[in-house]
Symmetry: C2
Subunit: 578 residues, 2 copies
């Protein structure tokens, strides 16, 4: 990981490959790398689909090593959805493979003059780029199957589906998992549309012949990794709840807490929660011969994913995440678990963000396009997106565009990006994150649900305004740092609660790079990343007025607690005061 | 005009009428009135379609008097299209009638809880509001015919078509002309969607029994009006070109100047210009028994409009404006004058902004939805808008939304509003206005075409950056003031070139109100209006970064002059330094 691979897709005579040393980007990884490059090299006022935008794909600092949980990939660009900077984050195999291939970042630049679709193959011998128009409009599963036939099963794929080719705001970038299935997605913010605008259908990665990245101090690294893994296994969330039930363990918890946005954010509990809960899903997966516990990349010890089979016992999709189950489930009034799994598959296959897709369907339901609770209608709507019909194009624009097109007032977005599966009125800490994150509404940017609901890292009452600013601030800083390491965000539960596990993480970084990083250094890194991102957004025309929830969250009460979002504007403006 | 009529459409038990004294709004009219009320009373971050937005309808300071040209109506709100403050301006009879009925403003507030559609009737006896769901989805011509049957032909109507009911971003508010036809529109910025969100289909006005508004000094007023009219008639633009050929006299002029945006702003001249020019149109109107010279309201002495008959000599539409002919003509590569007239009729009937509609179709053509030059396809697309099909809904969202939905990069908008009929690269003064006007891209906000191309008010070379900032600044200030008087903007040619005509305007205001207004006072009024508007926009989250053209205008050269927009950003930021 001592070099950057740059591919100018708009070069005269065809794509041009350049490999450069890290230069000023030395020492950065993941989100720190993507945000640094975007912030420095992309004109903030450029059109997100223009040749001036760049797509930066960066493994984390520890990706490609044997460190557990280090397989997260960051994808950065100016977002077509928000108009601001974007880092979208994915599991799967890609980060480890890119790390072992030695690249700290792959940067797609420029824009082809033609409508040709390109395939990029990267292995130990270098980079090959070719036109392959036979891939046009292939869904992700078919694309990956074709690549497998062509290049064998030792590969990993990064790809876009039809949504990315159509440059939809909700288009994701898929990464294959251990079974070479396109189930892990850098989904938020329309990063797939930017890849589509560059004319790149897939990046096929093969690290055959490459070795694990070697730490400076192998013994210390090994020891730190052991303590790190022990800590993860010991914490009840990462050691028990997530492996057993996946992220969908949250369905019952949030609905019971009254913070589960139901019927397009109209109430905080969903009567059908138990039918689509993680507990129900795990039982069904076991019964049908799927798997309730499965990792998304090699080196994962939490294994929060799973395999979801259909009624006949055939693979349908990976275990849908909580946010997906919510977006397509309670938020649309749908309580049929098989339909939700089908929607998850369709989203992955067409290459769209499940959160934005579900939130958009709920807005469309408010516009009268379909009825709340109608699972078949929801499936049909996602198929319209895959087809690119006019209705599909509208929905492919995301919740904000769909609201504009149909004249809907209640559209739960911040900076144009749909809110995920936690109502900001009843989980106010995550409401602060939604409002202020440079990414737009994003739970992963500062997951205050942990402290508000799960009582991890202490407890801050989710229903009161007090304490939420500081909570969100600290979590946003920590997250920006973790997102730079390549570590899965689910290590946060253990490192928040167990100082020795946090120390183990520091020791991993220090042993690998020969550093003397302390907790303060991690905070400084997180702050640096956030500052770069906010600086980009300011230059793109964002002010504190964009750090606000839609006003109806402050005027409409949410049942059952009858709470409004009452964190004051002047306090929201203090989140980044450090 | 000593009172404000407020109608709370969201009041418990049905709409509630309140008549209040002018209070702090005393002395204001037109745009000064609408922008003052919106700026003070509407929360800048509210959803434009929410109950918190207000629709303010205000005649100008001199509307309802015998002063020539004083029939302009201002309509203000937070714009669904731009997200900023909006004043959209219309001719027709309404301003005079409202003035004579004594209202300085009609303010629609709140939002009904039901889907009912309301009809408001205002006459000398007061205000009657009733549910009339038989009006649902009536096009404007049918609506007006129905009102005529119901209330006789002494009325004037303000109304929305299907687009407004569907709350489309491009929806206009129609005002009837002297023949009780809905041909004059407050069209820009989606003001019709706001009226639609209030559940108001039409405001029927009848000033029977009311008298002209009386000046404080009738003799001085009469004398000033005579000098004013003489000045207008004497100037070559308002005295000759506009009466003879209408605004469409500009087609040949702009195409010859290389500033006529053709094929979605790809070149500056249009081969088919002469086929759709004002000269051709006037000849055809005369030949078919229409009228090449006609006023849009009583008291107009310029009479730049006309009547356009079809091939069989039957009324088709009013004489389409230059910007309409451009939007549906050269910008879409269409050179068939009858098709353009049909498009004008359809736009008026469905109630959409002709500029935004044409600009949107050109973007859709770039997306491959129709072919440039295909007039029938353009007609079909507008009919889709009227029907509210999914495609129609997309187009009804305007050029920016259409670009987002179809993934088009070249979308000529500022603050989400489409640029009108002058390419900012070849008419750089109007480019500065597009970039910086609080209204979004709007030629009328500071019509530098006058000085750049028509050599009115001096001459500033349209192709160079020098001098454009000062030109646009002065014109924006003057326009904000004129838009407050109720005067048609076409008085500007004469008052810019002829000091005695400007003095006559001052004398009209002074004689009517008993003031001692000087040129400095007019400047101060214009600056005050712009400051209020910019303050609202700042509180809505706008910064100098929104005062920019899309970047491709600075990177792509426009033929035939091969010019880019090269006014510097730092200079754009000086427009409002006074």
């Amino acid at each position: 990981m001592d070099k950057i691979l740059r591919i100018d897709m708009g070069a005269e005579g065809g794509p041009k490959v350049t490999v450069t040393p890290l230069g000023e980007y030395v020492g950065l990884g993941g989100r720190a790398m993507t945000s640094a490059i975007i912030s420095k090299e992309v004109p903030p006022l450029c059109h997100p689909l223009s040749s001036e935008n760049k797509l930066v794909i960066a493994p984390g600092m520890l990706s490609g090593t044997v460190a557990a949980m280090s397989g997260r990939l960051s994808v950065g660009c100016k977002s077509p959805l928000t108009g601001g900077i974007k880092e979208s984050n994915s599991g799967g195999q890609a980060a480890q493979v890119i790390g072992r291939l030695g690249y700290a970042a792959i940067v797609l630049e420029g824009k082809p003059a033609t409508e040709d679709l390109f395939k990029i193959v990267i292995n130990k011998d270098g980079v090959k780029i070719s036109v392959d128009n036979s891939l046009k409009m292939l869904p992700n599963y078919d694309l990956v199957a074709k690549m497998k036939t062509e290049f064998g099963d030792k590969i990993s794929c990064i790809s876009i589906g039809p949504a990315g080719e159509m440059k939809m705001n909700i288009a994701s970038i898929a990464c294959t998992d251990m079974e070479l299935r396109p189930t892990r997605h850098a989904a938020r913010g329309g990063v797939g549309a930017v890849m589509g605008s560059k004319g790149v259908k897939t990046i096929v990665l093969d690290d055959t012949g490459m070795t694990m990245r070697a730490p400076k101090d192998p013994e210390k690294f090994k020891d730190a990794n052991k303590r790190f893994v022990d800590g993860l296994k010991q914490h009840p969330v990462s050691g028990q709840a997530l492996p057993a039930f996946g992220t969908n363990v949250l369905t019952n918890i949030l609905s019971e807490a009254g913070g589960y946005p139901t019927y397009n954010f109209k109430q905080g509990t969903f009567a059908g929660a138990s039918k689509i809960s993680g507990e129900t899903m795990a039982e069904l997966e076991t019964k049908r011969g799927g798997m309730p516990t499965h990792g998304c990349h090699r080196g994962c010890v939490i294994r929060c994913s799973g395999v979801y089979n259909d009624k006949d016992g055939h693979y349908l999709t990976k275990q849908p995440e909580y946010e997906t189950v919510w977006a397509h489930g309670g938020n649309c009034g749908i309580d049929d678990i098989d339909s939700i799994a089908m929607l998850d598959f369709l989203d992955d296959n067409f290459g769209v963000d499940t959160i934005e897709m579900g939130a958009t369907i709920a807005v469309a339901m408010d516009a009268g396009i379909a009825k709340f609770g109608d699972a078949q209608a929801a499936i049909n709507l996602v198929k319209e997106v895959g087809k690119g019909s006019h209705l599909g194009r509208i929905l492919g624009g995301g919740a904000a565009v769909t609201g504009k097109v149909f004249g809907v007032e209640r559209v739960p977005v911040v900076k144009g990006q749909a809110m995920p599966a936690y109502d900001p009125r009843a989980v106010k800490g995550v409401g602060v994150t939604y409002a202020t994150s440079p990414m737009g509404a994003d739970h992963t940017a500062g997951y205050a649900v942990a402290t508000n609901i799960l009582k991890v890292g202490g407890f801050v009452d989710p229903l009161v305004a007090e304490g939420q600013i500081e909570l969100s601030r600290n979590l946003q800083i920590a997250t920006a740092a973790i997102d730079s390491t390549g570590m899965c965000i689910f290590i946060a539960f253990a490192i928040l609660d167990q100082p020795e596990t946090f120390q183990a993480l520091l020791d991993l970084l220090n042993a690998f790079y020969g550093l003397n990083l302390t907790g303060d250094g991690v905070v400084a890194l997180g702050q640096k990343v956030l500052s770069m991102e906010r600086d980009f957004n300011a230059r793109a025309g964002f002010t504190s007025q964009q750090d606000r929830l839609p006003r109806y969250f402050s005027t409409e009460s949410l049942a059952p607690h009858n709470v409004k979002f009452d964190v004051k504007d002047e306090d929201l403006d203090k989140v980044f005061n450090w």
